[in-house]
Structure formats: structure tokens, C-alpha cells
């Protein structure tokens, strides 16, 4: 007998051990997310995927589905909080979309569009973060890092290399490259690594490929992010 829970009134089937996010994605229902990736162990850090499960707020990418659970996602209240989180991500880094190679393919940008983010609202930090152009094939622009840890997980769990790590705590958390020099060229990182493919924003960029796809034909020009879930 298949078990179900309800998501915004819709009945969603799930298997034992599945998270709310996994079951929703399977059923073709989009829940905004940034640090979740179906191929990796959830990290539960960005909180964009927050839902109300039986009246309590929780991260849907880490919360296991339970039979009869009542889950709310697309409410004005929750989306307002998701929008505020997104705005904070924008002001904490330097996100100048017009000059970003990831623009149009960026999950942060597309999620902000989805949430109707008209402005960053908060005061900008304008942090000073150097780029790392040392590697022959890949550029790292730390100005756009949202600390989702997907590159950390991919490099550690798939590539078996541990090239990236999150260092520091709280507001001081930042992404580092595991080399004495701190430079990507002093690691065994390669373009063929899974970690080279997973960054949801414009940090890990393949050199000499920027702006290859014309405006109008980029991933999220053609389809808003809410229509990109597996089940559809």
C-alpha cells in the first residue's frame, strides 16, 4: 500500500525514507531550493526549501515524509521568508548579474525571479573577495559563492579529491581551496570532475566558454525554474 502526505492540499505518494523534497520532486511539484541536489546527501543549510510540516517550519530537503503529514509550501508567508533569505544571499556577496557568465543559467537568479524578488532590499555588504584564475581551465569567482557546499560534497564524495571546503563560522564562513597556496592550480582539480559541474551560481566557471549561449536561449530564459522539476 503506498503512503501519502498532502502538499498544499495535493496528495503526494512517497516511499519509506524519502524526504518531503524527494517525494515532491518525484510528483512534479517544485519546492524552491539551492543547497539541495538530487545526487547528493542533503546539507540543509540554505533553508530556501523551508515548508510548514504539521504546522512547524522545517527544511523539506532533510525532513522525512510521514504518512498523513500536512505540508504547506506555496503560501504568501513562506514565500516572503524565502524571498528575504534570497535577498540576504544577494547582499552578502557581489552579484552583478549583467557581467556574470552564469546569468540566465543561475539557480539563485532564477529562484529570485520565481519568488518575485524586485530588489535586494537590505544594505549591501560589497565584500572584497579576490578571484582565483590560477587554473588553466577553470576560474573561481568567490564573489558569488552562496556556501551551498555542493562543490565540497561533489569533490569529496564523487571525485574523491577534497578540493574544496567551507572554512570559518557564521557570517565569516567562506569557501577555501585545499592547497597550501590556496590556489586551484595547486590541486589535482580537473574540468572532468563532478565538482566542476555542480555550482548553482557563477563561482566555478569554465574558461573561454563565457556568454556562449545568447540571451533568450539560456536555461531559464526558456523555462522558469518552477517548471524544471523531474516529474513534469
Amino acid at each position: 500500500m503506498s503512503q501519502t502526505f498532502t502538499l498544499d492540499g495535493k496528495s503526494i505518494p512517497f516511499e519509506d525514507g524519502q524526504t518531503i523534497m524527494q517525494a515532491a520532486t518525484k510528483a512534479g511539484v517544485f519546492i524552491p531550493h539551492l543547497c539541495y541536489h538530487p545526487e547528493f546527501k542533503p546539507h540543509g543549510s540554505c533553508k530556501l526549501c523551508t515548508v510548514k510540516a504539521n504546522g512547524r517550519q522545517t527544511a523539506s530537503c532533510t525532513m522525512r515524509a510521514m504518512a498523513g503529514m500536512v505540508v504547506e509550501s506555496e503560501t504568501e508567508e513562506i514565500n516572503a521568508e524565502r524571498r528575504a533569505l534570497t535577498q540576504m544571499l544577494f547582499v552578502e556577496g557581489n552579484h552583478f548579474c549583467p557581467s556574470c557568465e552564469k546569468s540566465g543559467h543561475c539557480q539563485l537568479q532564477a529562484t529570485a525571479y520565481h519568488l518575485g524578488m524586485m530588489s535586494p532590499h537590505f544594505d549591501h555588504f560589497f565584500p572584497n573577495r579576490a578571484v582565483d584564475a590560477s587554473h588553466p581551465e577553470v576560474l573561481l569567482d568567490f564573489n558569488r559563492c552562496i556556501l551551498c557546499s555542493l562543490c565540497v560534497r561533489a569533490s569529496r564524495d564523487v571525485d574523491g579529491k577534497n578540493v574544496f571546503a567551507l572554512s570559518g563560522r557564521g557570517i565569516k564562513t567562506h569557501l577555501i581551496v585545499n592547497a597550501k597556496s590556496g590556489k586551484l592550480s595547486d590541486t589535482d582539480f580537473s574540468l572532468a570532475d563532478k565538482a566542476a559541474q555542480v555550482c548553482p551560481v557563477g563561482v566555478i566557471l569554465t574558461k573561454r566558454k563565457g556568454f556562449a549561449v545568447p540571451i533568450g536561449e539560456r536555461s531559464y530564459d526558456k523555462q522558469p525554474i518552477g517548471e524544471t522539476v523531474e516529474g513534469r
Partner: protein
Amino acid sequence: MTAPKKKLKVATTSLAGCFGCHMSFLDIDERLFTLLEHIEFDRSPLTDIKTCSPDCDIGIIEGGLCNAENVHVLREFRKNCKILIAIGACAINGGLPAQRNHLQLTAILEEVYHSGPGLANGMIPNDPELPLPLNKVHPIHEVVKVDFFIPGCPPSGDAIWKVLTDLLAGREPELGHGLMHYD
């Protein structure tokens, strides 16, 4: 869209912007005639009127704040306009000019006027008429309350048209997929 009895007064300006948003505004093309049935321009580069009337209905601000005069003009707009709209990336997050924000202003002036390649006997401009640059470039919402935002670099003529017609019709402006762009 039902025509209001009295035409709405609209003022516009470009602060630390490139005039791209104003050009995009003109991209609404012949819809400008429809618009002019409902609005009249007050202070704007389009009219060359230099100060806002005290009873403007809508102020449209392109560009962020990179010098003291920008702040002064922005405050004049906020004081005289019932609704203030930030148009374009620079007004909304500082945009391209704000990419100097991680550098020291003195170091920038030094390099641009003294030590850059091909410069000889350079002098940092110091005419008292020149507005003083700010240490950092700021989006306008960091200084005054902004009522609506039209993102884009520049926003398309269609996006601008959508927001203005929504406002004229008394609706909350909304840009859907395709019109909503940060680039």
C-alpha cells in the same frame, strides 16, 4: 486603462547610470503617445526641466549614488514625488559603478589620473563645481524609501510599459517570466 481626469506628473533622472534605462524607456515606441494621454513629464532629461515641481506623482530614478550631487537629486525627487521607482540594475544594486566598491577611492583616482599607463603630468580634477565622489557607490534604497523597482540592465521597454500601465490602472506592478530580468 481608463484615463484619469488630471494627467499624472512624471519626473525622471539619471544618477550614476549610463542613460540606457532612459533609452529603454523610449523603446516603448509609439506607446509613448498612449502614455502621454495619461501623464505629462516634469523634471526629466526629456524636457530639460531642471527641478521637480512639488506635486509630482511619479519619480523614476535611473542609476545609483556615486557622488554628493546624486544624493542631493535623489532627496529632491523623494521630497517631491508621491511614488518613487528605481529603474535598472544601478539604481537597485549599484550596478557597474559599484564594482569599484572593493577598491579605495584614493587608489582609483591615483591610478586613473596619475599612475595609469600613458599618463604624464596628470592632475586629479579639483574644480569646486565638481561634486565630490562618495567612498562607495550605493543603491538608492539605502538612502531613501523606494516604492517600486524595475530590475534589468536595462529593463526592456515592455517591462517598463508593464509597470507603468499597472500603476496607472491602480494595480500592484508585476513582471512575470520573460519580463523579469536582472541582466
